[in-house]
């Protein structure tokens, strides 16, 4: 029995096998991560579009006077199972139209913008906080200017605000989130807009309520 001296050694074969497995693992993991990203992008686009459509439909609920009691119940259950947006935020100068959800969790911010907990709401007054991803819907805020119009449509009313200030603050500085006597809105996103990882600052857009008689 003789061993070939020309074939690859055990060490070389082992390295080749390890590289082969690394190659497969890198393909699988890379494909998984890219698929995750693609899924999130699709969820963002579809979730936002659906939320805007559902919100528009909720403003004009169908006439249910001829519906059976069971159908009305099913409709109400179906409506409750949806994650309905509480408002729609529009900045005409930036062509931004985005659904606003009740919380600022990751799923909500992927599909639109979210209300900052502990702050006011457009209908009840005070300082309304709305957060969005700087690498998503709120990236366009980099072009916002003082004097721009911000509109928030709730189920009760269309509220208009004028941008009064734009600030960049440390991510721990919450002073601009404080309650205000006059109704207003504060848009929050991370800063710098192009930054990998947790951005160290926040981009804050403050706007005050525009009374119908002021406009």
């Amino acid at each position: 029995m003789s061993h070939s001296t020309h074939g690859p050694s055990n060490g070389t074969r082992g390295l080749a096998r390890a590289l082969r497995w690394s190659e497969i693992a890198a393909y699988v993991l890379g494909a998984l991560l890219c698929s995750l990203f693609a899924l999130a992008q699709a969820d963002s686009a579809l979730g936002s579009t659906n939320a805007l459509e559902d919100f528009a439909a909720s403003l004009n609920p169908p006439d249910q006077t001829l519906w059976s009691a069971g159908r009305v119940r099913d409709y109400q259950v179906a409506q409750q199972s949806k994650t309905l947006a509480v408002a729609v935020l529009t900045v005409p100068s930036l062509k931004l139209e985005v659904p606003v959800f009740e919380g600022d969790d990751e799923i909500s911010l992927n599909r639109g913008a979210g209300m900052v907990a502990g702050m006011g709401t457009p209908d009840t007054g005070g300082n309304v906080g709305i957060a969005g991803h700087r690498d998503g819907y709120f990236r366009v805020l980099k072009d916002i200017k003082v004097g721009d119009l911000i509109e928030i449509r709730t189920r009760l009313k269309l509220h208009r605000y004028r941008v009064t200030s734009i600030d960049i603050v440390d991510k721990t500085d919450k002073r601009l989130l404080a309650d205000t006597d006059e109704p207003g809105v504060t848009l929050v996103t991370c800063y710098p807009f192009y930054y990998l990882g947790n951005a160290p600052q926040r981009f804050i857009v403050a706007a005050t309520y525009e009374w119908p008689s002021d406009s």
């Binding site: 990203f37 991510k171 404080a178 205000t180 006597d181």
Partner: protein
Amino acid sequence: MRRSIYLSIIGVTAVLGGVSAPAMAATCADAQFSQAVLDRFPNIRLVCSEIVEKDGQQYAVVKGDLVRTGNNAVYMKFKLADGTKSDTRKVETRPEFRVKIDGKPVSVRNLAVGQELTAYVKVSDPMIALEPAESTDTLAAYPIEDAAPAMAANTAEMPTTASALPTVFGLGTLLLAFAGMLTFLRLRRQS
């Protein structure tokens, strides 16, 4: 026919006018506001749009914009005759109370900032009441308060607005590039 319609309109107007404002009704300028009312609401004559009589009492009608809603209260800025607005004032109410917005009855729980509300200020006492949805409803008057809205404590936390998705995509692309490089090297060695 047309004449009878005019006469009917005049008749209805006269009847309605008689209900809401007697023939010798006071105006905002000559209404005898008590000193207590003037102390609590110094610019009452400037915000008063008319004097009406309800339940045997004279009231000054004041209109304003809703600034904020709170627990059993709304906060309003009243419109002055010169077009400016008063300081914010608190008007107490009940949660089930309904007012009329755009001709429709709306619960105070469903009011929104910016809506115009009407209130009545009692001429003889420093009391204020929101106008009820139905004119037949009795007024629920509360003492006039000049308190500004109580600011909520700043409990809000700065939100995290950076998504992990760009990092995920970057890492995935790098891994695919790495795998592609390994494939390229392997195929080159084999050939």
